[in-house]
Amino acid sequence: MSLRVRFWGTRGSIGVALTSADIRDKLAQALLQASGRMFASYEEAHAYATAELDFSITHTFGGHTPCVELEPGSDEYFVCDMGSGARPLGVHVLAKQAKKPATVNVFMSHVHWDHIMGFPFFGPAYVPGTKIRIHGCHDVLEHAFRLQQAAPCFPVDFSQLAADVEFVQLEPGKAYDVSGVTVKPHLQLHSGDSYGYRFEKNGRVVVYTTDSEHKLEDRHEAESFANFFRDADLVIFDAMYALAEAISVKADWGHSSNIVGVELCQMARAKHLMLFHHEPANDDETLEGLLKEARRFEELTRGDHALKVSAAYDGLEVDL
């Protein structure tokens, strides 16, 4: 059975949206590149845009903050973080459930605002009979979720939610069976700590590791993460900055880079690196540039193991 990963929110820190100027710019660039071509139908134009134009012209990496769904082939939902991407996820869950209450297992990297802000807008939380189990390693987990819905910050208090919400405390380094999926949290370097999760089901492995800074000259740290990522089919990795930025002006900000993502995945012999938690100040062209640079770095430094490198965008689905 395959494991599907669906990205509902991929941006870090704060949500962003394309402006009308951004859309005009993409259209103008597309028209320029298509100059002189004739398209007999929408399908023909669509095929041209898909095959010929850069991703940053035809798409956007999107603007919702972190929320990633894992579909392991069970009736229950598995979700990493509750950033603003949790709102469209909630719409999806409600439509799929067709009025049947859902069971949703949430795994929290940490409780900084961008990772919890979608929960008050997560539709299933307002449906009686819904079970939401919020897993995490922080002892302030429940406090943070209740606090963001307390007056005067939000009109609906946490106590008014219709769903049965349970907070489940996990310990880093310990493996848990959550409804047939093996889940192992791992402590990461971030302000107030963060935790990555390694998910295993039917021989497929997904690692969700965001808001995590790495200092690879520390051999112990590097090996610890390489073991955490070991042979993963997919590593969803905090690649907020270019390396120079991550270790100079933004050192100790708790984030990592595309280059360190490639190095750690190579050490771990992981199969697919997914750049994630995009810097909100970066436009689509810049993000595509960071992806191309990561792919080139992988090519330059490849040994006997090839690593696929992609960049996550809102709406992306990956089947493993």
């Binding site: 200092k215 690879l216 000259e217 051999r219 590097a222 270019a242 390396l243 120079a244 930025e245 270790i247 100079s248 880079s257 280059i259 360190v260 190095e263 640079e293 990561a294 080139r296 770095f297 330059l300 430094t301």
Partner: protein, 126 residues
């Protein structure tokens, strides 16, 4: 795999010739070496030029060592530059955006000419 660093003085510039692979295995020893040379350059008010013509590879851990040296030099109002990188190392510098943090020169003489005419002249008569 080892990293070797050889230092030579040309007027008011100290040229460090680095050879080998600068990665997780070698960065700690390299950093210790480099720190000593940075101290010397700061004490003598000399500019530091890193001759990377025989550097085969640099990883993120290695780049961090270079950045630490750059910070030390800049804190002492000193000057640090890199020169003569092999194509692969030059590309890694670009990919990691390190070319925005360092003054990069195609050759050692060009790096020395940017320091002073005396340094360039001393190098040409070596």
């Amino acid at each position: 795999m080892t990293m070797n660093v050889a230092a030579r003085r040309f007027a008011n510039a100290l040229v460090l010739h680095a050879s080998g692979r600068l990665d997780q295995d070698t960065c700690e020893a390299f950093r210790t070496d480099l720190t000593g040379h940075v101290d010397t350059a700061v004490r003598d008010r000399a500019a530091l030029v890193l001759d990377l013509s025989d550097l085969e590879y640099v990883s993120s851990a290695g780049l961090r060592c270079l950045l630490i040296a750059s910070r030390q030099m800049k804190a002492a109002k000193g000057r640090i530059s890199v020169a003569q990188m092999q194509p692969m190392v030059a590309e890694i510098f670009e990919i990691s955006h390190f070319d925005m943090l360092f003054d990069v020169y195609p050759t050692v003489p060009e790096a020395l000419a940017a320091v002073s005419a005396d340094a360039a002249a001393a190098y040409s008569t070596r």
